[in-house]
Amino acid sequence: MADKDVSRRDFLKLAWGAAGALALVETGGVVLSFFSPRIVEGEFGGVIDAGQADSFPPGSVTPFTQGRFYLVRMPDGGFLALYRKCTHLGCAVPWNPAEGKFICPCHASSFEMDGQVINPPAPRPLDRFAVSIVDGLVKIDTGTPIQRDHASPADLVYAGVTA
């Protein structure tokens, strides 16, 4: 061998060490994957039919308990589905019709009708779900909440406009 600095003892030590480390990593991998989240197909996480677009008056907020979201119709007619989970610490945020905003009971974060933060500690607007309107029917895909830094008019979906 060219490299005479590595004695047989050093080589064996290294080999044992590497094999041991590999075994540890493998065991760790087995344990981690064993305990990884089991995804259960259920009511939440699929595409939900909310109903006819015309049945939601502009400027209304309709809760969907099973889907864990609010279907918001902005005064200009745009649709938005907001995940009800507070972006601060995960409480269920109720809509307060008297004050016209979402107010979290846990740490008093409040949000505009479009999810924009009015009052911290919430660090970002309420997450939204993708909305599509097909033949006048509103459908919400609750598979993945979409995080955003700012609420934007581009989040809104309008009836009669194909996305």
Binding site: P37, C91, P105
Partner: protein, 466 residues
Amino acid sequence: MTDEFDPRPEDLKQRVWESIQRDELPPSDDRGRMRVVMNNLVLHLHPSKVAKPTLKFTYTWGLGGLALLLIVLLSVTGVMLMFVYTPSPETAYQDMLNLQTSVWFGQLIRNLHHWSGNLLVIVAFLHLLRVFFTGGFRTPREFNWILGLALLLLVVAANFTGYLLPWDQLAYWAVTVGSSLLSYIPLIGEGLRNFLLGGPEVGAATLTNFYGLHVAIIPLTLMGIVSFHIWRVRKDTLTIPHTVDGKVDGDDGDRIEKVTTLPHLVSRELVFALVMTGAILLWSVWVNAPLEAAANPDHSPNPAKAAWYFMGLQELLLHFHPVFGAIIIPALGLGALAFLPYQRFDLSAEGVWFRSRKGRLIALVSTLTALIAVPLLVLLDEYVLDLPGMMPNLPTIISNGWIPLAVLLLLLIGYYDMIKRLFRSTACEARQGIFVLLVTAFIVLTVIGVAFRGEGMALMLPWEVL
């Protein structure tokens, strides 16, 4: 020697007894007493002799032993509860109701488990304070302090996982809020939270996960480290208590008398354990563990509070950006705690309550400072100061995170410097002052969170909170 263990076939009863208990009971001399301790499975966690001054109750307050007693009580009642409880959202809450109404002594066993668990958090914390204030973490005991910190974290983890099991509103939302704290750890936070909860929200998988952690993983780890911790106490011995004048406390001369563990230490332990067991039993007979309405994921109660021992953290969250309130500040605190025994320490302060006369004065001043300053700062931030509003162009992680933290750290450094100059104190005494200041601050924040935060987490007086 051979005569001593010679079996006596003519007396079977005697033979059976000696096969179990080899040493003479009661032992007739000190050698016999030491041998009993050495040869007994439970007692051998103790050394055979201990320094007499360390037996003084007001030196240790029996806090370590009390923690061990609570762990035993929790294990026994916990295993009993496992027989009448199924960890599934469909059955858990009903099991709790049945436990309280149809199981014989079910309410009592639940109360014992609940109150012992809460008491353990307090006792473990007091134990930490006791060891700190008597300088019990000095060489060669540094690593045992670290083990103690690990045990404190495990105790909190055991409490937190147990909190979910009743599956009532309190449980569901406290765990939702508590686990969301994790999601603020940069990069791995959300993954870690989802891993722990078994999904993005608290649900059936969470209950199974927490049950497994609560009844198996955490208790086994805890018992392993507890044995290690006690074994180290035996090897390292206790720090000898000294009066503030530098004399050995509880001994006439400077010669430290050693006495046999049996009966001097063991009898004290037994008496204290009996008294405390009686007290906990009485309390549990009279005061029921809370159980609210069944968990409802659609409706967060107002206010939704974390478990009481997390209320200090939750209060921090109201004032800081979540990354700071939930991660950076607690991590700094824990890091500082772990680093404490490796700092320089005045040898004359070993075993002296609060280090020295000057140390006592500084500790008192620091307590008062925190008692006044923390409520003032909370009020200031609540009603006057709006840092994100004052710096609208900066992200809140800077305006409500780095900036207030930097200001607070500067204030702390200034306080440390002021103490050293004003009292001409040693670094060791001044460091204790900072420790007292921060511990008092944490306790004040916890009290504010528990008693002064009502609907919408707004500040109000305690009688309005209830």
